[in-house]
């Protein structure tokens, strides 16, 4: 299996505070890879660096061979990013928003049309796409945003707390959507507090705390290693040993 994302000794400092310390991992093509950890562990900083939102203090990462440090624009062509609790432009309709975001991803009209149609199929919002986003529920906005994030079948989709704040049905639909898209070849880098969701979705996970990755592996293997029933127990044991 080919490597989609390679993170090499990535670090981030804010003044004297070290948010991420020398982390390394890889994500394979079509793999769902999750970063789990408590609040302030360094998840968002890691994701923001890989998403080219903030620059690393040291280290680098490569997406499809493109260096984040040297050619961030090339990296942006291969990723999409969905921030935690993100909103959309409330004065736009769902259709307009998807068309607008498609035009941000590609300047070719045909591709824009293709991406737009993909998004319509994925979000399953039907006629509600004609309505202003200000009238959408939180679940509808999240579906719209996830469809936006995968409309162009990126090499890597980075989703921060993909289902946070959603009800059971909406969260389930989104998890299924992620699984289906991964089967079709899109790699996912997820971040979440929800261990059960991560266990259900992820092919591999990384446990991060205080900016350091303590464990990387398949959920089943990690559970066995720590003799734990679920990832929550694993996380508790890892945290105690730190």
């Amino acid at each position: 299996m080919s490597i989609c994302l390679e993170v090499k000794n990535l670090s981030k400092k804010y003044g004297s505070t070290i948010a991420v310390k020398d982390i390394s991992f890889t994500v394979n093509t079509g793999e769902i890879f999750s970063i789990i950890g408590p609040n302030g562990a360094g998840k968002t900083s890691t994701i923001r660096m890989i998403s080219t939102i903030i620059t690393p203090s040291s280290g680098d990462c490569f997406i499809d061979g493109h260096s984040l440090v040297k050619s961030p624009n090339k990296v942006r062509e291969n990723i999409t990013y969905l921030p935690d609790e993100a909103g959309a432009y409330k004065n736009m309709t769902g259709n307009y928003y998807l068309k607008f975001m498609a035009s941000m991803v590609s300047s070719e009209k045909l591709k824009q049309k293709e991406y737009f149609e993909n998004a319509i199929k994925i979000c399953k919002l039907g006629d509600r796409l004609k309505d202003k986003i200000s009238s959408y529920s939180r679940g509808m906005i999240r579906k719209l945003l996830i469809s936006r994030a995968v409309m162009n079948k990126p090499k890597l989709a980075i989703l921060d707390e993909a289902t946070s704040g959603l009800d059971i049905i909406n969260a389930l639909e989104i998890r299924r959507m992620i699984k289906e898209l991964a089967k079709k070849g899109t790699s996912f880098l997820l971040s979440s507090h929800n261990m059960l969701e991560i266990e259900y979705l992820s092919d591999r996970i990384a446990i991060i705390n205080k900016g350091v990755i303590y464990e990387i592996g398949e959920p089943v293997a990690i559970k066995q290693k720590y003799n734990a029933q679920n990832l929550e127990e694993v996380f508790e044991k890892v945290a105690k040993n730190i």
């Binding site: 998403s51 939102i53 624009n73 993100a86 432009y89």
Partner: protein, 415 residues
């Protein structure tokens, strides 16, 4: 007790960092302006007792009048030429004394030079008007002491006939300075209010929009798409420029219509046009250009400041420095002639780019074309500078890592 707990909570909500900072800034602004205005007032009050006189008659009567004015508290300065007049002077023409001796109404010329259109500047010319009143009363009292007869009745009623001449833009007209000032001020009085309103509305609009984009994380999403950050910034600034064009056009047209209405009043506008104090079509275009630059500067500053706002609430306080830098020249331009302030203060005030917008109208009317053009040039340079800063902010992490939160300024590190 429940009410008290609720009240305590509400007060804690209302009394926040923004409010305290706003109050501190307001006090500083008032102290600053108070100092300015006291300085201006002291100078003008001093001017109120200064009186320039040109005595072309050099008679016993004219010298008597000068002595009376001195004893009335005026600091009389007898000068020889019109070129020596600072703001206004009384001119006793030859024959003054002869007419007085013959109990004939005599002329005194009130010659004024208009070099400033500020409200306070009109105070100094009133010393001449006060002096005329004293001269008139002196002769009336003199006649009363001599018994009023039918021969001197006309002289008693009008001992002095004031002939006013006003010089503006090196042109002289037989018209009072107050009439000229009224017309000139009427042309520019509305402009500062318009400028102030445009800047406040546009800045709040842009900074709130940016803060919203940050709060909704739509900006974060946009910055992760394959578009350069400079393109995103340029799009924002271009959109702002379009808004600036529309706003300045609307306001200039509105201002023009206001002026058309003003011009259709009873005033003889041909005379004012001849004196060069009527804004021409070209002047309106220049004002439009300067308004456009001003709005663009305000919007660019708002984009930079808005980028440091965490939410809409904090966006309001982040643009406080911008509001203050508009407020100071706005108030000063109404009360005083900025170019006559003490050098250091004038330098500081001129560093504020908006000062040049507030002084644009008077500069055009008083044909201070170099000052006007220097103002536009400075604003152009300032705009380039602020655009450079905006590019730096948008190209760095600081747009996401430094922010003003509603309760306190803090480094926002979401790990």
């Amino acid at each position: 007790m429940k009410f008290l707990a609720l009240l305590k909570k509400e007060v804690r909500d209302v009394i926040n960092f923004q409010l305290i900072l706003g109050l501190i800034i307001s006090v500083i602004v008032f102290i600053f302006l108070g100092g300015f205005i006291k300085n201006i007032s002291d100078t003008e009050v001093e001017n109120l007792t200064n009186l320039q006189i040109i005595d072309n008659d050099k008679s016993e009567q004219s010298r008597e009048i000068i002595d009376i004015l001195k004893t009335s508290g005026f600091n009389v300065f007898v000068i020889e030429n019109i070129e020596d007049i600072n703001e206004s002077a009384l001119i006793f023409s030859s024959g003054f004394g002869k007419n007085i001796l013959e109990n004939k109404t005599t002329d005194i010329e009130l010659y004024s030079k208009v070099s400033s259109l500020s409200n306070f500047s009109s105070v100094s010319s009133s010393s001449s008007t006060n002096a005329i009143s004293i001269i008139s009363n002196f002769y009336k009292n003199k006649i009363i002491s001599q018994d009023i007869s039918s021969e001197n009745m006309d002289f008693f009623n009008n001992p002095i006939l004031v002939k006013e001449k006003t010089e503006i833009n090196n042109k002289v007209a037989e018209i009072s300075s107050s009439t000229i000032k009224f017309f000139a001020i009427s042309q520019t009085a509305v402009l500062p209010i318009i400028i102030f309103m445009i800047i406040v509305i546009a800045s709040q609009m842009v900074s709130t929009a940016i803060a919203n984009e940050k709060g909704d994380k739509t900006l974060e999403t946009l910055l992760s798409t394959p578009i350069s950050r400079i393109s995103i910034l340029l799009a924002k600034i271009s959109a702002s420029a379009l808004v600036a064009i529309v706003m300045s056009s609307v306001y200039v047209v509105g201002f023009f219509l206001y002026m058309t209405g003003e011009s259709s009043s009873s005033m003889d506008t041909t005379l004012f046009a001849n004196l060069g104090i009527k804004l021409s079509g070209f002047d309106f275009i220049l004002i439009g250009i300067q308004l456009f630059l001003t709005i663009l500067i305000a919007l660019s500053i708002s984009i930079v400041l808005g980028a440091f706002s965490k939410d809409v609430k904090s966006a309001q306080i982040t643009i406080a420095p911008l509001m203050i830098s508009v407020l100071i020249p706005y108030i000063l331009s109404i009360l005083s002639d900025i170019q006559t302030l003490p050098p250091i203060i004038r330098f500081i005030v001129n560093l504020i780019p908006f000062t040049h917008t507030f002084t644009a109208g008077p500069n055009l009317i008083l044909q201070n074309n170099i000052l006007f053009l220097l103002g536009i040039a400075y604003q152009g340079i300032f705009l380039i500078g602020i655009l450079f800063i905006a590019i730096k902010v948008f190209s760095s992490d600081s747009i996401f890592t430094v922010s003003t939160k509603s309760r306190k300024f803090k480094k926002n590190i979401s790990m």
